[in-house]
């Protein structure tokens, strides 16, 4: 039985927000940090709390901490030592494992995210800009009242137009494939697989191995918690559009290239089910747009190239132990929309997303290290994920095709990592526990 009233809502629910704001905080003194947490904890909704109110709610708040942040709040060394090694090290130290080298190196990150004194993130999702502004003002007041709480940086999020469905700046429909947690009441869409044991995503429950993943101690701190990998990725929209024009003579051919990179048409229609022409009706239909496999339906990648983004990030029936590699994704786009045919405007835009899982090393780091950045994934030889892999212009992308495959060489980097961090996402009880640490001593 999931303790929905103790689990932060972000783990289980995708809220209907059109704007948002992330604030990255540092605690110069523990008491100030705890005072801040004590006040903001009241605003953090549990999964149970928003079940009833989601249609009326105008804003949703999530709070999470780095390992250094837990220390800054006053968590003792005995407890800190029980957290997993990769979380203790933090995303910066794991840069090579994650492929964060070259242009993606933490030395080039912005917003203070590579700093060791990054301690916390507060995530605000809001229904509209007015509500975001109001919440921002409230939070500014709170921070001003809490001694030693410093805002390292902020990031404003906005849905990219047209806003009637979620998509990124490249135009790809988003939020198509998401694991469903057993006991959440949600039903998986056809092709999405059975619901997964909660322990894959939430600490304190059995996972797909039948056991519970080891929990940091004391249990009050970790129960109903999870880990969250944050990634801020700039999307080079002009570069992407130029690439499509370079490799497609007509708009139709350009759409086809875009579809091959992703594995889906930008409408969301999967190439396995719509291999030759786009089918927007299929793209928006959750009962159909995920209902396919690779082993039987597309073993050679004639529809979905073996190296395409979608096939790497979820190889479905062509990977072992898939149920131990699933992740929950949340997030939003930032930066202004670049209209079609508009020249590069020099303004940064991209995706600022979270990957939520019970084991960063087994789930998130595996995906990043093997699926995204292993050049030899599926024996491809000299490829990385064409959308989010680390690219320096020397790699290629192969599109299986009869009689002879098409090979695109010198693939440019369509995205650049601008920042990231590993956070621990405590349960509601744990937030209160953290906010009263000093009182317990």
């Amino acid at each position: 039985m999931l303790e929905l009233d103790d689990i932060q809502h972000i783990l289980l629910t995708r809220v209907p927000a059109l704007t948002g704001r992330y604030e990255f905080l540092s605690f110069r003194n523990a008491a100030g940090g705890r005072a801040w947490l004590s006040a903001i904890a009241d605003k953090v909704q549990s999964a149970a709390a928003i079940q009833a109110s989601i249609n009326q709610d105008k804003r949703w708040v999530t709070v999470a901490f780095t390992w250094n942040g837990l220390r800054a709040l006053g968590v003792d060394e005995d407890s800190l030592s029980t957290f997993p090694e990769e979380f203790k090290q933090g995303m910066v130290a794991r840069a090579e494992v994650l492929g964060d080298t070259g242009e993606n190196h933490p030395d080039k990150w912005v917003g203070g995210l590579a700093r060791p004194d990054l301690h916390a993130i507060v995530i605000l999702f809001a229904r509209d800009a007015a509500e975001r502004e109001r919440c921002q003002g409230e939070h500014d007041k709170l921070v001003a009242q809490c001694e030693g709480v410093e805002v390292l940086s902020t990031l404003d999020l906005d849905a990219t137009p047209p806003i009637d469905y979620a998509h990124d700046h490249f135009g790809y429909r988003d939020r198509l494939s998401q694991p469903v947690i057993e006991g959440s009441g949600e039903l998986p869409t056809p092709g999405s697989g059975a619901p997964l044991r909660p322990g894959e995503f939430i600490l304190g429950y059995p996972d797909e191995s039948g056991q519970a993943y080891p929990m940091p101690q004391p249990e009050i701190l970790s129960r109903n918690g999870s880990y969250m990998a944050y990634r801020c990725m700039q999307e080079h929209v002009s570069r992407f559009r130029d690439f499509l024009r370079q490799h497609g003579q007509t708009p139709q051919e350009q759409e086809f290239v875009a579809a091959k990179l992703m594995g889906r048409w930008r409408s969301g229609a999967p190439l396995v089910l719509a291999p030759e022409t786009d089918d927007p009706g299929l793209g928006l239909d959750p009962q159909r747009n995920n209902d396919f496999n690779y082993k039987e339906m597309d073993p050679h990648g004639y529809a979905v190239p073996l190296g395409s983004h979608m096939r790497r990030m979820n190889p479905r029936d062509t990977a072992a132990n898939m149920n131990r590699r699933r992740m929950i994704r949340r997030g939003a786009t930032y930066g202004p929309y670049l209209p079609e045919d508009a020249p590069e405007d020099g303004v940064e835009r991209g995706i600022a997303a979270f990957v939520i899982c019970a084991s960063l090393i087994r789930q998130y780091e595996f995906a990043q290290n093997v699926w995204v950045n292993d050049r030899n994934f599926h024996e491809l030889g000299n490829e990385r994920d064409p959308i989010i892999g680390n690219h320096d212009g020397t790699l290629e992308f192969k599109i299986p095709k009869r009689p002879i495959r098409k090979k695109i060489t010198g693939l440019p980097a369509f995205t650049t990592v601008r920042g990231g961090a590993y956070f621990f996402l405590p349960g509601i009880t744990a937030l209160r526990h953290l906010s009263t640490l000093n009182a317990q001593v």
């Binding site: 072992a320 090393i361 000299n382």
Partner: protein, 190 residues
């Protein structure tokens, strides 16, 4: 992040001398669980050597039969490990029995570590490791402890050779399939 360089020429047999410790100091690649042993003309591999718990020899022979049956029953049971060959040996040093487990495969061990642990648990491969001294009892839930044991007992090569260097098992199988297809084509032309 292995790199299959176009310069890898399978027609030219190659040998590689490996420094003491098993790593080329100036180009050690970090994996999720630690530094990755380099790819050589004989692909990736490991040689795990450990002392067995005294008196447990019969378990190893029993285990061999089990693995034979497991692979016969489900030929792709070990597919995820991307293997070429596995060899198991028992040998004596001063009256004590040691076990050697040598594998040659196409991916660094770090990448599919958890898959390997899962296969061990599911297929009975584990039984032999549980008869080694120092093997962690909680290995099923503690991948990190399992990996630590493997790394501590790994004896890296100081020299490796490949008659057809850097060729993956998948490429070999593709070549043989192609040969079979050509042979079939020629039959149809008669």
């Amino acid at each position: 992040m292995s790199n299959t360089s176009k310069l890898d020429d399978w027609t030219k047999p190659a040998a590689m001398a490996i420094p003491e410790g098993g790593f080329f100091k100036d180009r050690v690649e970090q994996g999720r669980y630690g530094p990755i042993f380099p790819r050589t003309p004989a692909c990736y591999g490991f040689s795990i050597i450990a002392k067995i718990i005294p008196g447990r020899e019969p378990v190893f022979y029993e285990y061999a039969k089990n693995i034979e049956e497991a692979v016969a029953g489900q030929p792709d049971v070990l597919a995820v490990l991307k293997l070429h060959y596995l060899r198991w040996n028992l040998f004596d040093i001063q009256g004590e029995t040691y076990f050697q487990y040598m594998g040659i495969f196409d991916t660094d061990f770090d990448k599919y570590t958890e898959d390997a642990v899962a296969i061990f648990a599911a297929s009975g491969l584990n039984t032999v490791f549980e008869n080694l001294e120092g093997f962690p009892k909680d290995w099923k839930t503690n991948a990190a402890a399992f990996i630590k044991f493997v790394r501590e007992h790994q004896r890296p090569s100081f020299l490796e050779y490949g008659e057809y260097p850097f060729v993956s098992a998948e490429e070999i199988k593709k070549a043989l399939k192609l040969k079979a297809a050509f042979s079939n084509m020629l039959d149809q032309m008669q």
